[in-house]
């Protein structure tokens, strides 16, 4: 008698109908969007502030360096003493006073520039001021030494090495970044999914033990069916929740950006400004085009299929481990000692992915880890954008699937024995004994 569909249905419906699940599903996107809005609003608030900086330039050559920008206004003072300048800045409640002494010997300039202010000034302002002065001084030094600045500018060269595989596929550095971004995103998503919904499965297994219904269920169905049903049912609930999040999130962002469209356009962080400037630069625009190009160069079909298989496989594998932990303990507080060994391989996989796959996607370490079932979902997903032979992908997935079946069997075994052992805190030694029963 196959009860699997029945169990899956019950697990799914109970999860979906659960009040806290419903609340979390619909409130989380709101919280997320609200959070983003608040952050954006705050950064806008900060940027709106105008800063006034007075510059007391005794050299007389710096005046043209300080050009007003949107948020920073310069006020160049001449013919005043430092003391009066200080008084003046204080009286006008300006951001600060930059004092450039007239040091004939340029070596002294290093200590000849000082910034006076009430509070310590922001790092970005300091470095921008330093840059301005440095550039001016370098230029004037070069000029003093008889170097033509125009010539230097003219001889500056930019090099981008064009990459091409022997089969004629064009690649670029951006390609690698993109591949990395894809692998990273997939790995991170899997990580989040496992932690959120793995816990859910564990709790639902523990619930059956604490409510003592387990003995009734287990006298009707095989433990392995129950396990599989729980894992699949909860996963479906998780996917439902995730899909709702994505849809709700996009709707909310869309609605917000239509209503406050103008505002969001103005919420430009400095990075965005830089990006805008960069876009005007033809070289960088070229590279962006190259990136779009290289996105389509990725083995997309392979990626999508592999993503589905490895994501589902990896998720199922880890959730069966969570289920086993749930079966071994009586309540959630006892689960701590078993959590670490579950999280460890996952963290390891992410580290290997980030530090090794980038360096050498087809090196020994990367290859080995992309076959070990507990790390393969993450590592293999990170490797695939760099091109992995299909046989390797298939082999790795077969190993993963086999391990999943084994862990479910193992979890079911623990489950069967675990129900007979109320109130006994399980140690690893105990667990080993249970498997042998």
């Amino acid at each position: 008698m196959n009860h699997l569909p029945l169990i899956i249905k019950r697990e799914y419906l109970t999860k979906i109908k659960n009040k806290s699940f419903i609340i979390m599903t619909f409130v989380s996107p709101l919280i997320m969007v609200a959070l983003i809005a608040v952050v954006a609003y705050l950064s806008q608030l900060n940027n709106d502030k105008e800063r006034h900086i007075s510059v007391l330039d005794e050299t007389g050559i710096m005046a043209d360096v300080f050009v007003d920008t949107e948020h920073t206004k310069y006020n160049v003072l001449t013919n005043t003493s430092l003391e009066t300048a200080k008084e003046l800045v204080k009286a006008k409640e300006e951001y600060g006073l930059l004092h450039i002494q007239n040091a004939l010997d340029d070596q002294d300039m290093i200590t000849a520039v000082k910034f006076y202010s009430d509070e310590s000034p922001s790092l970005s302002i300091m470095s921008s001021l330093e840059q301005k002065i440095e550039k001016k001084l370098t230029d004037s030094k070069l000029q003093n030494n008889g170097v033509d600045i125009e010539k230097i500018k003219a001889s500056k060269t930019n090099i981008t090495i064009a990459q091409e595989t022997f089969t004629g596929e064009k690649t670029s550095k951006i390609d690698s970044y993109l591949k990395l971004a894809f692998g990273g995103a997939a790995g991170y998503l899997l990580f989040m999914f496992i932690i959120i919904y793995g816990n859910m499965i564990m709790r639902s297994v523990i619930e059956e033990k604490t409510s003592r219904i387990i003995e009734i269920i287990i006298s009707s169905v095989k433990p392995i069916q129950l396990m599989l049903g729980k894992i699949i049912g909860t996963s479906l609930a998780g996917i439902t929740q995730f899909a709702i999040w994505v849809i709700l999130g996009s709707i909310l962002i869309f609605v917000l950006s239509t209503i406050f469209g103008v505002n969001i356009a103005e919420m430009q962080t400095p990075q965005q400004e830089m990006l805008d400037q960069a876009m005007q630069n033809p070289e960088i625009a070229n590279e962006v085009q190259g990136a779009i190009q290289s996105f389509f160069n990725l083995p997309l079909a392979n990626l999508v299929v592999a993503f589905m298989f490895f994501f589902i496989g990896g998720y199922l594998l880890y959730s069966s481990l969570y289920a086993a932990v749930g079966a071994a303990v009586d309540n959630e507080t006892d689960t701590q000692q078993f959590m670490l060994p579950i999280i460890m391989p996952l963290v390891l996989a992410v580290y290997v992915g980030i530090f090794t796959v980038i360096e050498d996607p087809h090196g020994t370490v990367s290859t080995v880890f992309s076959f070990i079932p507990f790390t393969s979902p993450v590592v293999m997903l990170m490797r695939i954008p760099f091109g992995v032979p299909i046989w390797q992908q298939v082999l790795s997935f077969v190993i993963l699937a086999t391990t999943f079946v084994l862990t479910v069997w193992f979890a079911a075994k623990i489950y069967r024995v675990g129900i007979l052992m109320y109130g006994k805190k399980p140690s690893y030694k105990e667990l080993y004994k249970w498997i042998k029963y």
Partner: protein, 308 residues
Amino acid sequence: MNNLLVADSVSKNFGTFRALNDVSISVPKGSIFGLLGPNGAGKTTLIRIINQITMPDTGFVQLDGEPLKPEHIQNIGYLPEERGLYKSMKVGEQALYLAQLKGLTKPEAKKRLKYWFDKLEIGDWWNKKIQELSKGQAQKIQFIVTVLHQPKLLIFDEPFSGFDPINANLIKDEILQLRDEGATVIFSTHRMESVEELCDHIALIHKSNKVLDGKLTDIKRQYRTNTFEVGLQTDAVDTVTQAIKEQFEVLPATFKNLNDDVKLNIKLNGQGNSNDLLKFLMSKAEVHHFVEVIPSANDIFIQTVKNN
């Protein structure tokens, strides 16, 4: 084959602990079989083996002449001692789910549930959650779920715990009716008075071994002591008592009476039968009360456990 369930030389070890040692029982069709024993004797282990929750290390179990196989779970209804239901699930949904797990189709399960809910007058609980019910109320649901698929074999582990006397009686009557309709019942309990009331056969398990087994009446006959409870009315209490004590072994007796002056338990050690005793007593005083002391299940239980 007149036995519905036969367990033959079943043994089970948990690590070094031997939970069952070579236990055999035969449960006749249509009987109520009392599975008795002190706490931790191994009753639950045996029940779990019958339910295929655990496997025996050695020995085998047959249901209706066939070795146990997974399909048999549909023929067994099990009410465990440690009982529980999904707390946040609605009564109706939950009952339907559990019935379907036992192999009933949804419409069939619905029909039968309606019958039982009406019978036990709990129709309005359908949409309540289990956590809104009292313990006894949840027990009722559990009972229904156990018997709903009309199994050949019903296993009740302490079915009356948590019930008030009225509901306990209700459930008792239902069990008897199920028996009359052809079900066989294995009944595990510590309440000897319900064993007395319900069981035809009993088996007693003590320290992993079966120490007693058979028809309750046979066992009682085996444990009978030829003792008679006697109440006499006389003016000369002391002389009568003395006369009896000279002839027979006498033990003190306590029973409710209106005006019996002499109350004794008299044990016959081969001095004739009960008629002879009665004749003797009639010659001494007016007999108001004369009854054989039948060993209660409680006495048998305590005596057997102590002797082993």
